[in-house]
Every structure is written in C-alpha cells, then in structure tokens.
Amino acid sequence: MIETIGYNILQIIFVMAFAPLYAGVLSRFKEMVQSRRGPSVFQPYRDIWKLFQKDEVISEETTWIFRFTPYLVFVIPIFVATLIPVLTDYPLAFAFMADMLGGGFFLALAGFFAALAAVDTGNPYGPMGASRTRMVGYLAEPVFMIVFFTVSFVAQSTIPFIVQQKWVANSAAFFSPAHILLLIAFLMLILAEGGRIPVDNPTGHFELAMIDESKGLEYSGRGAALMKWGGQMKFMVLACIFLNVLFAPWGLAHGTDLLSIFAAVPQILFKVLVFAVVLVVIETSLAKLRLFRISEFLGAAFITSVAAMVTSIFPGA
C-alpha cells in the first residue's frame, strides 16, 4: 500500500518534471521542420524559473477567482496524473478515486475556472479568448463523452488501468475498427483541447486570433508560471492517456519493484517523443482553421467517435 502510494507520487513527479521538456521538444522539432533553429529544449524550464523569481502584479479590480485559478490549473493535472497509468500497468493506490469520465470533469473544472479568471480581469482580450475556449470546450465535450462510453462498452470499465489491460490482452480488440475510429477521434480531441494547430496556434502572439493563450495574458510572476506549467502538464497528461491507455499500451512497468518503474521511464519518454514527431507533422502540414470551421473539425471528431460506438455495438464487431 505504502509502495503504491510512493509510485503514485513518482508518477506525479514524472509528469511535473517532463511536461516542460515535452513542450520544449515539441517547439524545437517544429522549428527544425521549418528549417529554423529555435530555442533550446530546456527553454520552458528557464521560463518557469524566471517567472517564479519575478514579482506578481494583480489588479485591484479582480476577485479571489483570479488569485485562486493558477493554483487550480496547476493542481488538477497532478490530480488526474494519479488516476491514469503513467508509469505502471497495474492500478495504484489512488486509481479508483475517479474514472476517465471523472478525470475529464476535473480537467473541465480547471478550464472553467481559467475562463472565469479571464473574464474577471476586464481585459478585453481575456473574455474573448475565454468565450472561444468555451466554444471549443462545449463542442469537444460530446466527443469526450462518446469516446469514454465506447471505451467503457468495449472494456467493460472506465478505470484507465483496466481499459489499458483490455487492449494489451486482446489484439483482436486492439485492431478492431471501433478502436481505430476511437483513436482518430481522441487524437482530434487532443489537438483541440491542447490548443494545437488545426484549432489554435500555440505560438501565436496575435491577441485577436488567440484561443487558448489569451486566458493567461493578465498573469505575471508566480501566477503566470503556474498557468504555464499547468497547461504543459495538462497536455502531458492527455498525451499519456492517449498513448498509455489507448494507442500503445505497451512498455509500462509490470513489476512492483522500483527498478522496473525506472526502466519504464525511457520507454514512455520514447513513445511520447514519437508522438511529438506525429504532432509536428500534423501541425506543419495543416493550416489553422478559421474560427467557424472549428465546429466542422470537432463535428468530424464527433462523427468518428459515434461511428466507433456504432461499430462496437452491432454484432459485427
């Protein structure tokens, strides 16, 4: 029991430590593909460090929501990291606190508070970006739901650890059309939720076109650092769910000793790295969608996920 709690804490440390690196590697890859040099992969760490050193300025007009939000945005990905298989393929101490749907709700809670905080400042760009994130959010919500329903229908459970076991054990289920459709739908969802290119430009500095970035515009110092780090961890957590639970449920630690946990770390980093290459290919080969085309993109994701459900319900599958 003590052991699994310790491993859970290791998972949290893994996500906290490597999330900024992942963001750095992603942007570095992207710059390399576009034949530029780009900043070092460790730049996100330096940014966060620098922001922690700086003074924080908070407008007098804001309420407690504005001060409270960075902590929530920072804590919730950590909380979700305890629920999902980041390093191990057997359930850990806190795995049964909430299922995938619960994790989705917690991420939505962080998004809700981030939107409130953006409105709280009275900065004209904040509410605009917040309303856009809400638009993307409510279009993505049904896809989330249907994906989880399908997963629970196929695997007879919504606990991520058990779902992961299902795909490992049964290769026929792994290659079934329902699973492939599910993967595509979830990938589109990650692109939308993570603010990646067909939906939002993560490197854009033009306030009028911002979706995800504009929420953190008013933050400075520690608040900005926490918002930034929290956002990177959220993306890392989503990538872990996609890779470890759905797409490539191999390479996780099976043994209960500390050594096998550490042996799993490079394998998971490798998977995440390959995923980064895929993301970079998607991001550089697509153009950012116009705002009102986003509904089409997420509509396509919704239809893919419902098709996954349909093909898994009928006797053919």
């Binding site: 290769s171 059309p177 329902a178 492939i180 509904s295 098709a307 009928f314 053919g316």
Partner: protein
C-alpha cells in the same frame, strides 16, 4: 497464429477504409478527394493481400495486384493525363448539403449498413465476414451519398469508383474464390469508366467551360460564360 495476425490487420485495414470514406465526404479540395481514394484503394489491396495470406488463396493475391494496378496506378494516371490541372486545384464550396450535415448522414448510413447486415453477420462463422460485410456496405452507401452531394464531375466519378471499393471489401470476404476472369473484367471496367467519364468531362468543359454537374441541367443556345 500468423493467419490470426493477418486477420487482425485486415480488420485494421477495414477500419481505415471506413475512415477514408468519411474523409472523402469531408474533403473540399478535389485533389484531396482523389488522394483519399488512392489511399482507400491501397488499403483495400492490403486487405486483399492479408486475406490471401490467411486463406492461401491465389485469386485474392491476383485481386490485390489488380486493385493496385487499376485503382492506385492506372486511374489516377489516366485522370491526370485527361484532365487539365485546374480540375485538381479546385475547391468545392457549394455542395448540395454542407459538410457537417453530410458527415452526419454518412454516419447514419453506417448505422443502416450495420443494421441491415446484422442478421446476416450474426449467422456467419468467419470473423472476417463479421468485419468486412458491414463496413463494405457502409462504404458503398457513403460513396453513393457523396455521388449525390457532390457537384463537381471529378468527385462524382471518384464516388462511383469508391462505391466499387466498398463492394470489393465486402466481396473479398464473402466470395474469395471468384473466378479471376470476373475480377479482371471488373478491373478493366473501372479503368474504362474513368477514361470515358474523364473524356466526357473534358469535352463538356471545352464546350461549356464548367463541369459543375448541377449547371448542366439547363438547355443552352449560345456559349455563354458560366463561371
């Protein structure tokens, strides 16, 4: 064990073929539609080869080769040669139904296909039939729908050919021992359809300056600018 793996990979191909069918409905660009058709045909031939391997059937090997020859190489090449470049650069803005609605309808067609084949599939012992028959029928229905919804001539032609892809996907599972002469005839037919429609489109465009099929319903006396 090896044939089980081949059948598992075949289900993977079948799933990707369905995704390619969705993509053909969702793409605006004519070039993109052709590209997804080529991808779909490639997946179909992969599925053919995998089934040929697991059932050790010579016919299916031949069928896969014919599919690659006809649909992946010959048809795109013929269409490239026959039609000028601006066909490919075009974007189809005005479809009969907008794309989200079109995709929803495609989804409905998948449900219909699964529902119709449900009783048949329930009695089938072969696991390949359980996958390929509903998805093949879904492919046919989605292609028919894209034939209805599209207005440009080239995507409509691709719709006809994609229909054939869907029928093949179902066909290779049900009747893997089809005489090779029938398969050859079908493959030749498909290429001929591409040539005839391509030539027709070319001459229509020469006459009228457009290939928007909806615009061809009206009679005309004088050559006027249609665009």
């Amino acid at each position: 064990m090896a044939s089980a793996t081949a059948e598992a990979l075949n289900t993977l191909c079948a799933g990707l073929i369905l995704i390619a069918a969705f993509a053909m409905v969702a793409t605006r660009q004519v070039q993109g539609v052709v590209r997804f058709f080529v991808i779909q045909s490639l997946l179909l031939s992969a599925s053919c080869f995998l089934l040929a391997y697991s059932r050790s059937s010579v016919h299916l090997w031949a069928l896969g080769a014919i599919t690659i020859g006809a649909k992946v190489i010959a048809i795109p090449w013929v269409l490239r040669r026959l039609l000028p470049d601006d066909f490919y650069e075009r974007r189809e803005i005005s479809q009969a139904v907008n794309i989200p609605a079109s995709l929803l309808l495609a989804l409905l067609l998948v449900v219909v296909a699964e529902f119709l084949t449900g009783p048949l599939v329930a009695t089938a012992k072969d696991s390949v039939i359980r996958i390929n028959l509903p998805l093949g029928l879904a492919g046919v229905l989605i292609a028919v729908w894209s034939l209805v919804a599209r207005r440009e001539a080239l995507p409509q032609l691709i719709g006809i050919l994609a229909m054939e892809n869907g029928a093949f996907l179902a066909g290779i599972a049900i009747a893997s021992e089809l005489p090779i002469i029938a398969e050859l005839a079908v493959a030749m037919d498909v290429v001929l359809i591409a040539v005839v429609v391509g030539l027709l489109t070319r001459s229509i465009r020469k006459e009228l300056g457009t290939t928007v099929a909806a615009g061809l319903a009206e009679l005309k006396e004088e050559p006027v600018s249609w665009r």
